[in-house]
């Protein structure tokens, strides 16, 4: 895909919001791909975490928000622990989740009312509560 790069584009409002919520400097990323290589759930992701960072800086907000990468992230911090630039990538994924969950439409990833009784009976609180924290507004 052909993308025109401009100063305005790389400093776009979406990327700035992600930086603000995560407290991370997206420009520090030099695309080594260590995060994606070590990610235990990257096999299920549309884009690798390093791609999500680059897409954000290229102003591809829609592509980022439509991919499943940040919903798949399990906040295991493997990427954070291995990033040679010291970026806390798990915080970046959390920030993108929150860009969506904090919208007034409250588009939750998880519909709590749809969880079956059988599932609720089976699953421990620890999974439910952390799931609610990550997937609901």
């Amino acid at each position: 895909m052909k993308i025109e790069i401009s100063r305005g584009k790389v400093h776009n409002a979406f990327a700035q919001k992600v930086e603000e919520i995560s407290g991370q400097n997206l420009f520090a990323c030099y695309q080594c791909g260590n995060c994606t290589a070590g990610c235990p759930v990257s096999f299920a992701m549309d884009l690798g975490p390093h791609q999500v960072i680059r897409y954000s800086l290229l102003g591809l907000e829609e592509e980022v928000l439509e991919c499943n990468t940040f919903w798949m992230c399990a906040s295991c911090l493997q990427c954070t622990s291995r990033c040679p630039k010291g970026l806390d990538i798990a915080r970046i994924m959390e920030a993108i989740r929150l860009v969506i969950l904090r919208r007034k439409e409250r588009l939750d990833r998880l519909e709590v009312a749809e969880l079956s009784d059988e599932f609720l009976e089976r699953i421990p609180q620890i999974a439910l509560i952390s799931g609610f924290r990550k997937f609901t507004s």
Binding site: E20, W71, D88, A127, I129
Partner: protein
């Protein structure tokens, strides 16, 4: 300090203990065995009064102060009742320890949190994991002296998961890529620790709620790796890991023909067996893959 066997009975150590929600219900096997072993090893877990859920996730957004209130309140209460706070659950340990580090190091957030919870906490409680008590306060050597059953020859893969270790600068628990406290623990109770490349991988965590099919793959990769390296059982410290790699073996069987299954045993249950606790107090009926046939085969039941 010389910590020989005879000193076990004379020493009386008390640690303030935060069980957490899941240990009160589905993970009673982790909790009961932990309390039982503590008594044998000469320390008492005194339950924190009026405890609540820790929140089960440390908030990763810099502006999410609200999610810090529950763990901060727990710590402030712990300060009123003692100087340390111990957990068995890795997730609780992570949330509470990280919150404590944040309160200690960030004056602005400390003030905000204290104003919100209407308490005055400065971050001066020491947050401990049960394994740290075993290693530093009891001592693995002392533990060895208290063993009643011989687990020799039992090949156990120690599964650390994420939350005990990461982020390692804040958790200050063990090496980030090659931790060894779990191996030392297994050595001390005569098990044979099985090294496997997935020991610090993620079990899928809360994806068992968000994307269960992904969590199943994570669990399968971990268990397959443990099996291929010769493990007869896997041991954990975390009820979330335990659920994902124990309970979800049902789904693994459906997806992978020929997956043999493997029992997942909480480390406190293994310790309980080694210390000679009555097997019925270790609540093995709560483990989804029953570890009792393996224990029987090893002549331990």
């Amino acid at each position: 300090m010389d910590r020989d066997r005879s000193s076990l009975r004379e020493r009386h150590m008390e640690f303030l203990y935060f069980p957490g929600c899941t240990l009160n219900t589905k993970a009673q096997n982790l909790d009961e065995a932990g309390r039982g072993c503590a008594k044998v090893l000469g320390f008492e877990l005194k339950e924190l009064s009026n405890w609540t859920c820790c929140g089960a996730t440390f908030p990763l957004a810099k502006d999410d102060i609200m999610a810090l209130a529950p763990p901060a309140r727990l710590l402030a209460r712990a300060k009123e009742e003692g100087s340390t706070l111990t957990t068995l659950c890795s997730v609780c340990f992570n949330v509470i320890k990280r919150t404590n580090q944040l309160i200690k190091g960030d004056e602005e957030k400390r003030e905000k949190i204290n104003t919100f919870i209407e308490m005055n906490y400065q971050g001066d409680v020491q947050v401990l994991h049960y394994l740290e008590i075993l290693k530093r306060e009891v001592g693995f050597d002392t533990m060895k002296g208290a063993l009643k059953r011989n687990l020799q020859g039992m090949k156990v893969a120690p599964f650390y998961g994420c939350m005990l270790l990461r982020p390692f600068e804040e958790m200050e628990f063990d090496d980030k890529e090659a931790p060894k406290i779990f191996e030392e623990f297994l050595d001390a109770i005569n098990c044979e620790p099985v090294d496997f490349p997935y020991k610090i991988e993620c079990c899928g965590a809360f994806q068992s709620v968000g994307a269960p099919e992904v969590a199943v793959e994570c669990a399968y990769a971990i268990l397959n790796s443990a099996l291929r390296n010769g493990a007869e059982a896997v041991t954990t410290t975390c009820p979330l890991c335990q659920f994902n790699i124990d309970n979800m073996q049902r789904e693994i069987h459906q997806r992978y023909n020929g997956f043999p299954g493997i029992p997942i045993i909480y480390f406190t249950q293994l310790l309980g067996v080694a210390l000679g606790l009555p097997v019925e107090t270790l609540e093995f009926h709560r483990n989804d893959v029953d570890p009792r046939p393996l224990l029987k085969k090893k002549g331990l039941l």
